[in-house]
Structures are given as C-alpha cells and as structure tokens.
Symmetry: C2
Subunit: 206 residues, 2 copies
DNA sequence: GGTAAATCAATACGCTTGTACGGTCATGCC
DNA sequence: GGCATGACCGTACAAGCGTATTGATTTACC
C-alpha cells in the first residue's frame, strides 16, 4: 500500500500533518476568502514554517485540491451519519440532509462559506470543478434514492419524478442556504420554508 | 449637478470612459475570475494605459465597486423591461423574471458567473456585500409585489404568504441557476422544474 | 553504526502587484 | 495670453507572492 496508510515509523503522521495544514487553510478561507490565501499565512496559522508546508504539498494548487477533498469528505461523513440511523423514516432523513445545506450554526456557516468560495473559483478552474462536481453528484444521488424510498413508504406521492424532485429540493435548499449566508434571511425562516415545500410536495395529488 | 452629468466640454466623456473600463473588468472576471483581475490586465483589455485606468479610478476597490453597481444596473434594467410590458398577466411576468436567473444564453451565463464571483467576495468584503444586498432586496420586493398582483388576479391562491413564496421562488431559481452554471443541469430542464413548481403553487388548495 | 528517507528551517530568486509620482499635451475660461 | 483643469503616459517602488534550493536534524531499518 501507499505510504499514506503507514501507522508506524517514518511518514506515519504524514496524512495527519496534511490535514492539520488543511485546517489552517480552511480557516483562512473562512475568514478572508480564497483569494487571500498565501502559503506564508497558512504556515503561520498552522504554526509551522513555510518549508514545512512546502514539504507536505508540492504546490499551492495541490494544497487547495487536498483541502477541498478534505472538507467534502467531512460533508459526506455527515450525510452518511444521517443515513445510518435506520429508525427514521426516509422523508425525515431527506429533510435532515436538506437542512444541512442551511447554515444554522457557526460550523455549518463556516463550511458553507468555504464551499461558496470553492464554487466560485471552480467557475474558472476545471480541476476544482471536477472535484466539486463529484461531491455534488453523490449528494444528488442520495436525494433521488431517499425520494424513491419515501414513495415506497407512501410518504410521498408516487406521481413525482424522483430526479426532478431531487433537483428542485436541492436547488431550493441551496438557494435558501445562500440567502441565509448573505444575511438575507434567518435560518429559522429558511428551514420553515423548506419544510413547507416538503409538505406541499407530499400532499400534492399529481 | 456633479461633473458626471456634464455632456459637453471637459469631463464630458468621463462616465462613458469609466463604463468602458468597467466592461473590460467584467470581461476579465468572466474569463478568469475576480482574483485574477489586475489593473494592468484591465488596462490592456480596455486598450488604454495603466495610467488612464488610474486616472478614472482612485483605487482598485473603487473600480470593483463601480463595476458591481454597473452590472447590477443592467440587471435592474432588464427587470424593469419585463415589468414594463403591461399586457402580460402578473404570473407570466413573475415567471419571466425568475427565468432570468437561469442562464440560458451566453450573456446571461456571463452575468451569472460575474454575479457569483462578486457574491463570493462579498462574504469577506462588507462594502461589496452592502451593494450586492441592495440589488437583492429590490428584486425580492418586486417578486412579492408580483405575487400579490397574481393573487388579486386569481392566478395564484390567496392563501399563500407572498413574502415566503417570494423567498422560496427566489431561492429555487437561484439554486437552479447555480446548477446550470456548474454544468449540472441544462437550462431547459431547469426552466421546466421552475415552471412545474409555479404550476404546483398555483393549483395548491391552501 | 551506517545509510536512506522523512522532516523540517532558512534563504533567495524572479515575478507580479497596487500605488505614487512626474511629466506632457489639450481644452475651457477669464 | 495666462492659468487651471482634465486626460492621459511612463516609470519607479516597495511589498508580497509561489517556488526552488540547500542544509541540518531526526528517525527507521539492516
């Protein structure tokens, strides 16, 4: 296997150190934006030398890509946890996952700010766009699946097209999240609007 | 009045020149992103000297702010035009305005890319955020008004809360626009989803 | 104990950046 | 005719940037 999986000896803490540096990078993006990131600032915040950062990342680009994958993984992990609790009915799980896109606490807020920064840059960076789209796709697939399950459990009308519905709910949640982030709406109202639409979907005849 | 309104003599073409430089700036944002903007690149694209750019804008920040107001004005103008055609029923006007947020052609696409870049930066620049929110607010107000009119014309159920509905439609359209921009969905599907939701809203009992 | 790799630290390089400054020429006004 | 102002141009500068390089120290393994 690769050196990354080593648990003892030289290189054992390699991945952990990379994550630690990535955390510093993400903190800077949250505070000052993606443009304001310099290797020296990252090093200072991570309390290591510039040389150390260079040792763990060949280039700034590689560091950015790693940080994006790192934070994506955190999001994926949260979705997995939501899915894991099998007691809940599919519609409730769907609601929970969508609600994650509305930043109700500081941590979620920071993550959404960071995700927004990466999204903006992905518009001019194909490589970033690829990595971002991967996470996007998998979340979308989960939504489609949950809607199907909800339909099978008679929690949502069978007449709904799962893919379109997933796209709509995704877009709605994302848009609401953005409005909250901008300060245009408070999280409570945004979540209420989301729930309202979920209810409307469930009680539609078509 | 200020010198900006002068139409003859010295300073007559002042505002026009500023707009011309702003166009170059916006083109660079569309192509390479907001971070990639340098005064020299702007000067080159506008086919003027660096000194000329400096002459018309005291600082880079001022130029960015001007460009944001400039492109916002263009959007506002389009909304005004949609509102202007009085023959159309309010729900159709509402639909047109929401559809503007889904980039179906190159021009709309470029504008949304630029708006996204500004939005991302506004997360770390309060001054930009203020300017952006102003346009946001006025668009939101227009949506609320149109929904009220649609209700009065019996095109939408009176039971709907106009403000919440406006927020929801806004968020949905914005989210769909983003999905199209990312390349996740094609404009046709996005517009179909938008229409579907407008229909669902109109035929809801509550 | 020796060798090789990992882990840094320090420094330097070339480049780009926003801004400042000085100068030139044209224009408008008294 | 003089004088202020507008409209530039060219250049210079200090700061910051990503990256390369070199070297020292530690660690793991034979």
């Amino acid at each position: 296997m690769s050196k990354g999986s080593r648990t003892r000896g030289l290189g054992a803490r390699h991945e952990e150190r990379r994550r630690q540096i990535a955390e510093a990078l993400l903190a800077i993006i949250d505070l000052h934006g993606l443009d304001a990131v310099s290797l020296r600032d990252v090093a200072a915040r991570a309390e290591v030398s510039l040389g150390a950062v260079q040792h763990y990342f060949r280039s700034k680009d590689e560091m950015l890509l790693f940080a994006l994958d790192y934070i994506s993984e955190r999001g994926t992990e949260r979705v997995r946890r939501s899915l894991g609790q099998g007691e809940q009915p599919p519609r409730a799980v769907l609601r929970d996952i969508l609600a994650e896109l509305v930043p109700a606490d500081d941590q979620r807020r920071a993550e959404l700010r960071i995700a927004t920064a990466f999204t903006a840059r992905s518009l001019v960076s194909p490589k970033l766009a690829d990595h971002l789209r991967a996470g996007y796709d998998s979340l979308y697939d989960v939504l489609v699946l949950l809607i199907r399950h909800a339909q099978e459990a008679d929690e949502m009308p069978a007449g709904l097209d799962p893919e379109r519905t997933a796209a709509a709910l995704f877009a709605l949640a994302e848009g609401l999240g953005m409005q909250v982030l901008i300060g245009h709406r408070n999280p409570r109202t945004a979540l209420a609007i989301l729930d309202e639409h979920l209810d409307r979907l469930s009680t539609t005849a078509s």
